[in-house]
Symmetry: C2
Subunit: 389 residues, 2 copies
Amino acid sequence: MNLGKRTMEELSRRTLSTRAPIVDIHTHVYLPRYAEELRARSSAPRIYRRTDADGQLEERLLILDGEPGVGRPVGPQYWERDQKLLFMKRHDIDISFVSSANPWLDFLPPERAHTLAQELNNDLEEYCSTSPQANGFPGLRSIYGFGLLPLVSGISVSSVLDVIKQVNTLPHISGIIIGTRGVGNEPVWEAIQQANLVVFIHPHYGVDSKSFGNKTNGHVLPLALGFPFETTIAITRLILAGVLDRYPNLRLLLAHSGGALPQLSSRLASCIAHDPIVAKRLKHDARYYLGKLYFDAVAYGAEELRFVSDVIGRAEAYSFTGGEYNADVGSTRMLFGTDHPFFPPLEASQKWQSVEDNLKAIWSVRTWEDSARANVLGLNALRLFDLEC
Amino acid sequence: MNLGKRTMEELSRRTLSTRAPIVDIHTHVYLPRYAEELRARSSAPRIYRRTDADGQLEERLLILDGEPGVGRPVGPQYWERDQKLLFMKRHDIDISFVSSANPWLDFLPPERAHTLAQELNNDLEEYCSTSPQANGFPGLRSIYGFGLLPLVSGISVSSVLDVIKQVNTLPHISGIIIGTRGVGNEPVWEAIQQANLVVFIHPHYGVDSKSFGNKTNGHVLPLALGFPFETTIAITRLILAGVLDRYPNLRLLLAHSGGALPQLSSRLASCIAHDPIVAKRLKHDARYYLGKLYFDAVAYGAEELRFVSDVIGRAEAYSFTGGEYNADVGSTRMLFGTDHPFFPPLEASQKWQSVEDNLKAIWSVRTWEDSARANVLGLNALRLFDLEC
């Protein structure tokens, strides 16, 4: 493609007039304590050992119920901080906001989920607080974190609120990552808003795999379509339930650029307008709420990013109390991410194609000035998490 | 919103330098014979009578298994051609390409589906051939049609090929509408390509309704999200199966602007690139195939249309044999539609908001010249169906 003719050297941040940080807000970890939990299990999610084709013992991760095949190889890049730092260095990432990978604590009974959430949050605080200083950004560490909540079936509200309080005491953790199964809990939203925690909403379950037909396409359909569908459904349900009306100061960050929500948002608005019972519950046109959200820039294409920026920019024009299109606001609510350690290179190469694709996408949005790119690459993240540099 | 300050008068086609037709390629009918079939049924899809709140007898349509509530009101606008013509006149639509509404013949046993497909195709030919001349477009009728195929479970290939042959003999039917359950049938694709029929791919089933949680949102989630998800999965499976590689001359028209496919297409390409078994089956990057498809312009928003146009425009740049981004090509593969008689006005108004939204969206794509708008509003449809005006 034509954009390929510009090398990553040309596109690199070094062309920015001032040195701006590159901050990765979508990067995962299975903390050692969590990996141990998975090793002790006999059904997915689990980590198991087998002998590979060369006779070597290897560990593999079965992440989904009914996952086809033998799972994926899993190793130190999932849990060792040095691997994270090496990856960051390889891609000139200055700061990472690390989050636990799916499926978090979803499979645990309430009491165990509560205990493990607190332990893992403490582990992550240590993982972050003992990380190196960010090179060139005095006062900042190279790693911060998203904590966990025990949002499992049967959990008590007070148990979740307990852990929110705990997270608030951990100085390097100023957000939480949640799946889509715990989103219906209203008092939790209230507490999260009050605690001013950034909420990273991330998929795990996709949609019913029967929709995907026979299983000859590996993980492509559940990952490429199921994941973003799940995120889209979750945030749409939050909008329809009025959560964004009642908690307007929630700071929700959507994985994978909001899935399909941007492209389906005008259709959503139209369907709502044709259903008076739903319509009268909401304070605004559905498109308005997209301007209140944050989107990672993990969409792998410049046209996708530009479009997400456009739907954020138009959001205020869909306020029922009046507002204007603002083309500049889009790039203030989108944030670079890598999805590390998933989507690794197929061959032992220095750079990860998935990361390069996302960086190139940011550099190739034609309507963005250098200042907009600097926002998306890192400054937005520092502002969102109230870090100064 | 600011666009609302421009009236539809200002935006109307009369500002075009030459009179270009407005052609609706997404407009449905339940032919009288089909309505009778639904009336004879005791489970969905069915039409039943009940006494409404005012003591009047009314007919209602239950279209989905397990549909919440009592279905939707159904009446002459679903089957009477005069109602279609009245609607067209109200919105200045010159020509309609009418298709049967979902769920087509999906619920029928093979023999009945085969017979009814042929009968309905003949009915539709008569519906079209006896329609008025298109006003101002000599030689053209006001209505053409998409035929049906008996793509039901257990049908023989020869039975489907039979009906393709029949459709080919009907002069006012030069396309077919299909759901997503019959898309795996390879000899059928070969026959359709050979017959040069336009294939309108339309959803009905959505995704598993359990994904949508409790049922307090009416039809909003299945319609706004489930429908486009289903279309996205169907066309993605066709791409992954290599159908678009083996039948490069297929003319596939996607309902609802391709659902979520455009926004997920770079993610799809990335997921494929990370799965060598799937990747090596395909001749091109996934994004290439979007340039081989046609998209209706039923997305209700200008930013959505512009984005779909962009992903069509970039497609050639993702050919593995080399190609360039072409910003002008997008508007040659997008086609105005209304989804009539669905999404009717809530109040007895002259104009349908759903139609106005789609027209205004076309008029508000900032990067489109008047010639591009004329293409999307009607000229593309005439070219696609080889009609001269």
